[in-house]
Symmetry: C2
Subunit: 385 residues, 2 copies
Amino acid sequence: MNSLNIPADSVGLVETRTFTFAHPPRELRLVSGKTLGPVTLSYETYGELNADCSNAILVLHALSGSAHAAGFNSPEDQYPGWWDYYIGPGKAFDTNKYFVISSNVVGGCTGSTGPASINPETGREYGLEFPIVTIQDMVNAQWHLVRHLGIRRLLAVTGGSMGGMQALQWAISYPEMVQSVIALASSSSLSAQGIAFNEVARQAIFRDPHFNGGNYYHGQKPDDGLSLARMIGHITYLSDKLMHERFGRRLKNQELPAFNFSSEFMVETYLHHQGIKFVNRFDANSYLYITKAIDYFDLKADYNGSLVSAFENVVSDFLIISFTSDWLYPSEQSVEIVKALRTNGKNVVYTEIESDFGHDTFLLDDERTQRNIHNFLRSEFEKAR
Amino acid sequence: MNSLNIPADSVGLVETRTFTFAHPPRELRLVSGKTLGPVTLSYETYGELNADCSNAILVLHALSGSAHAAGFNSPEDQYPGWWDYYIGPGKAFDTNKYFVISSNVVGGCTGSTGPASINPETGREYGLEFPIVTIQDMVNAQWHLVRHLGIRRLLAVTGGSMGGMQALQWAISYPEMVQSVIALASSSSLSAQGIAFNEVARQAIFRDPHFNGGNYYHGQKPDDGLSLARMIGHITYLSDKLMHERFGRRLKNQELPAFNFSSEFMVETYLHHQGIKFVNRFDANSYLYITKAIDYFDLKADYNGSLVSAFENVVSDFLIISFTSDWLYPSEQSVEIVKALRTNGKNVVYTEIESDFGHDTFLLDDERTQRNIHNFLRSEFEKAR
């Protein structure tokens, strides 16, 4: 990309910033009982905060995301941020109208405090000495960032997958600060099958000879393990039907089978490519910590087994979106959230969107998803003023 | 188990035998164009061959199976063979009536020629010098065994999953020898998603530091990789619903999370247990070769993209059984087989059985499956006499 080629509906060149807080002795208290500090969060903002601070939207990413949700960090960037289809002038999260904050998570590896950060107590990277963090810990850290930006109330908190989990947690932990939640392809807890996939992905990392108990920052990294974890994950992000349509049983470069163990089916090549790309931008330890945070997330368990109780004190409005072919966070899990909210008399819009693209649909340029968000936000914004 | 405790409906104590053929220079010609010889197949038989040789049934196993399909190999065995629910006096494959042959596959590791066998050309284990074998190669090898046992026509060829693939291939490769096929949880080709799962499982093995290019027979074995491959496989053998009901989000030994990376969810413990058990009974190289054979199996591709053409010269009757919650070999794939057979005017009984147990249902004590097989076989046996 060249700066001259930045599309008109892009937020353009953006800078990832950081905010550091929880300096000892006022550290962040974690759900586990441990403490963490200082804590840095990386974030980006798009658009302008209005005079009455009523147009702020917090965007939260999924497992492998970062604060870089829209625009380009440099004129040389080939691709924009992960939710560029949704954030920009005239887009669903219209940056002509709204002030969008995109926050990274604690435990991450793209500018925020995580296992690759230096542990102030030892002067070395935390590695596995980093404390286990939960979705609630991520949200508690983001609270500091939002207050630092001078915002007392968010027009919306939004995200897909783990981002949706954070958005739900925001509405529960800080009800007075969240006017609305937009949760896509999300869940109040991961299924047993989802935990199983996360565990085999973690095992791929643990079993890499270069993992070295998590202390690999000054030598070879566990790239084989991390890329295998990513390959496993990618199978679960796509639907069977999409894989069939996009790759089928086609071979890469030949008509006939190679009769060896080379990666010859197109679906194999695709997965290998995803795995290799990933190790250049992600830290294996962060993959462990973030998948574990997803596994632990369980709003029902937090409230004695009742999702209805979990949402009792929530005052937000909700837009819940699920996708028909998403088998990792299936629609039933969104419906369960919708029912629990309605039992509490909350305002909920629920849309199940027909899609063959599986869990990853929330990242794609889907017009129906965009229209749903646009309409919901417009009505919330009118309410706010 | 104690020999005194062998149940009355068991085939009792059985011996796994072997048959060796294709001695050089008359080696087995493989689909790849390579040759293999000598070839040994391990097998077991249950019941007695009748005078007119009209009661022989060939049972073929799935990915991780062996020739030991029923009964006990020793009085100390804790568990019977893998299809003991189905094979025995009075059972679906009634050994009072039928002569049941259970054959292992070439490429396997339980008595048949495979990568762990000695390559006569080098005097060392084949390892990755073992040639790639296909489902058709497995069937061509079994043909030698069946003829060795003096059988010119099989009353039925049967199996689940990869066993069903072999049974279909038998009907196509040796039509005059196969009176009927009973294929459970099977397919005429694996889906792109299925190939993807097999490839990540293979990569788990390839990336184990002890794999050593397949030459690990005199040192440490790639147990970490093989057990991880098995864990990945096991996720696909069960349904999401079964995992939810059996394990849910329950923790193993505690009420509260451990806040570390121990295997604490019951579903994690289950998978780890399956992985560890597997490395004691299976060879990692065989896992590579057999999954590759499954990936390559494609009856449509063999006949210019037409499954109807594939079954054109078949003369067998068919019982096709699929299971509602099987997402690895979904019912649509069985329906596709049924349609292609019916287009050819073949006799087909198709049953989709309601089950929450996923792909592995064909291995379980399922009364409806047993009744379907029993009735189909009785009618085929009447026809044969």
